[in-house]
């Protein structure tokens, strides 16, 4: 109804100015939950990535671990020691340091798995939506079949096969990559579905037809024209998917199928601590669990906001 015709003479704004001026930034600055979520996420990611520099101890360095200090409660509790702020685990590792290092693993695995699933799913989704017909039918039936199997079961299956295929001496070393592949491979159908849906809408738009009229090859139409226009819903899904991937990794590790206890992730820490829960050593499982919950919650909130902000229908 009211059409904004902005002044198009003069210098076009720089990329940075465009980002600052965009509706997304505007919406972000006016959504307190999004700002808090982003702050927590950034803090968590920052702390995790900087773990080697900011953690008080290196839990993987045997020279810094003393079994004498094992099972100490948090610093403020009775019997706690000031240098171990959140206490120590059964092997005498500082909880705070192991959480930082564990969170680092969890986040890296989550991001890598989502990237894998996203690349795979988006590629197949765009191809599926663009070509339609048999190609579409085959790809999407594959996705449907996979979606009938609960994700975590499939991840356990792929993870198990991956581990069994590796020679024994590499198992621990490559466990993290196996987990990434396992979660990534369970993730792709979601991405494929969303991308295919968006592609079907875009393919019928006139700019795609205009590209066909000038005889542009199909792969160029897909990468140059369709891909940038379907990325919005994919980014939303990726954010929410990151939270899910972190949980999936934690679940795998909790079940003893994921990251080994020598280099523990948050899930591994929770599992290890779980054994001591009923002997009153609550902090070994409690703090990693809290860290996991806060991290996932913040990422989820961010994803929720993004979905609202990027979807013009909900605005």
């Amino acid at each position: 109804m009211t059409e904004h015709t902005e002044d198009v003479s003069g210098k076009p704004p720089s990329l940075w100015a465009r980002i600052l001026d965009s509706d997304i930034t505007y919406s972000f600055l006016r959504t307190p939950s999004a700002i808090i979520a982003a702050a927590i996420t950034l803090l968590a990611v920052g702390a995790a990535l900087l773990a080697p520099w900011i953690a008080p101890f290196n839990p993987f360095d045997p020279s810094q671990i003393s079994l004498w200090d094992g099972k100490l409660p948090p610093a403020w509790a009775e019997g706690g020691q000031p240098q171990y702020l959140l206490g120590t685990d059964n092997q005498g590792r500082d909880m705070l340091s192991t959480i930082l290092y564990g969170g680092r693993l969890s986040i890296i695995v989550g991001i890598a798995a989502v990237c894998l699933g996203m690349v795979l799913g988006v590629t197949l989704g765009v191809i599926s939506g663009y070509f339609g017909g048999m190609v579409d039918a085959v790809i999407m039936r594959f996705a449907d079949v996979q979606l009938t199997i609960p994700g975590i079961l499939l991840a356990i299956l792929i993870n198990g096969i991956g581990r069994a295929a590796l020679p024994l001496e590499f198992r621990e070393e490559f466990a993290i990559y196996v987990v990434i592949v396992a979660i990534g491979l369970t993730d792709w159908p979601q991405f494929a579905r969303v991308t295919r849906g968006a592609t079907l809408v875009e393919v019928n738009k006139e700019y795609v037809q205009a590209a066909r009229v000038i005889d542009l090859p199909g792969w160029l139409i897909m990468t140059r024209h369709i891909l940038p226009n379907v990325m919005r819903p994919v980014l939303v899904l990726a954010t929410i998917g990151l939270a899910l991937a972190i949980i999936a990794e934690a679940t795998l590790s909790f079940l003893g199928q994921g990251i080994p206890p020598t280099t523990p992730s948050l899930g591994t820490l929770i599992r290890v601590g779980n054994e001591f829960l009923f002997s009153g050593l609550w902090w070994i499982t409690f703090f990693p669990a809290i860290a996991l919950v806060v991290l996932v919650f913040a990422v989820n909130l961010l994803g929720d906001w993004m979905r609202d902000a990027l979807n013009p229908k909900l605005r």
Binding site: M1, T2, T5, G10, Y207, Q209, I214
Partner: protein
Amino acid sequence: MLLEIKGLDVDFPTRRGTVKAARAVSLTVEPGEVLGLVGESGAGKSTIGNAIMGLLEKPGRVTAGEIVFQGQDIRGLPEDQMKKIRGDKIGMIFQDPQTSLNPLLTIGEQLVETIQKSLGLREKEAEVRAVELLESVGITHAQTRLKAYPHQFSGGMRQRVVIALALAGDPDLIIADEPTTALDVSIQAQILDLIKGLCRSRNLGVIIVTHDIGVIANIADRVAVMFRGEVVETGTVGQVLGAPKHEYTKSLIAAVPRADRKLDRFTSVDYIEGGAKPFQRIDVQTHWLGQAQDLKSPEGTAINVRNLELGFTLKKAIRRKNRVILKAVDDVSFDIREGETFGLVGESGSGKSTVARCIVRLYAPDGGVIRVMGRDLLTDPRAPETRAAKRSLQMIFQDPYSSLNGRMRVMDIVAEPMRSFGLTSGERETRKIVGDLLDHVGLGAEVALRYPHEFSGGQRQRISIARALASRPRILICDEPTSALDVSVQATILNLLKDLQDELGLTMLFISHDLPVIRQMCDRIAVMKDGRICEVSENEALFSNPSHPYTKHLLDLMPRMDLLQPAVA
């Protein structure tokens, strides 16, 4: 006096400052009178209708003025009282009959519910009344139709039901917001007649909000012309359309395509699109754009279509006889001579766009042959001659909002055909030519680094045209290039197309549902109906002496424009 609006101001506060959607608007409506509220997009005409109903979209609000309805100021009444007025006193008809009816309820349920709510009748009585209402809006077998669902009605019938719904509370005022924009011409005429008849027989006041001067000419008693939130001119329909006083109204009416005779160009439309630069001719002999003249077709026919056929499968089935196929194009043949503008006209669903899409290879035909510059583009697609023929063919699409990739800069959008066909010696030359082209279509080279969303519809269509020119085409296929645009913008775009054709000697296939536009643009015209061509005639002959009955029918349905001031030749 039924309704009097005095000095109404409506503001829409946005993050980029307040949009003044209406400024000091004053209007009156008498019972038994149709007031036409006309203006282009963004003029604020729908805002007025919504403000009266108290249905302004957030964050819009009325900041000054009075809305006096039957002697009572209804501005700022509490929502529950407004609801009562909306149901009982003021009815509203919306643009799209698809979305203003609930698809899950029968027509009867929706009508009876509304009648019961506003008139307080019992169900049986309300049903009787519903039947009466449906009959009064021209729906036959009303009693049985009560049990039908909206999808069982055609678009025109649905709009009749919407009108019946608006009448359900026995209102005194009807506000119709673009009631016929979503409908075909033949149905538009019937709906307008119906609204006018109801206005007279029930002594209703009607406000009809539209962008279409033709609608106004046919139905309104008085007209208010809106421009940028202000009413610039009010008067009887004869005075405003026949002898407009305000400069804006004059230029608006000059921009309306007329069917009575063909003009060289549209005159004096510069009041509205002041921003566009005047068309500068280029030296065709030396300019880059002129260097494609070498491509000549044998026998002087640019496009040659023979026995074209295409069916869409509506229902798939393994057994052939169970399939349902819609013949979108059925045995269509025509020739387009080099340098002429060939018009293809028909109502929606007649297959005219499908023909164009077959020519540019977006659809593969089931049968028949299409030759462009003497070559069949489907045989031997990799040969250099075929590439050249493909390059000579370009298309301009209908919707300027979806025909440009929003993620690309204007520069890359326009340069894409050049890069794809390898028409320039390098990036430097490409950039220079893109600047030239943008200048040539009246935008200026400096817009190259911007993104499409920064431009208005008309400016976007200019970008589309610059892109189409970038492959140095000999043939332009224009598929309803202006039907998404305001009438004044339409005039400037049509002028630009005419200028370009003159200058470059382009052949054009011009597709439109709008006969007056076709009349102004084309040399020869083909009329399509249900996938077939009814007749092909010269422009003058078609309008003065149509030979096919369907053409006559279409011509009869054209909005009467004899009220308009005589054309200045």
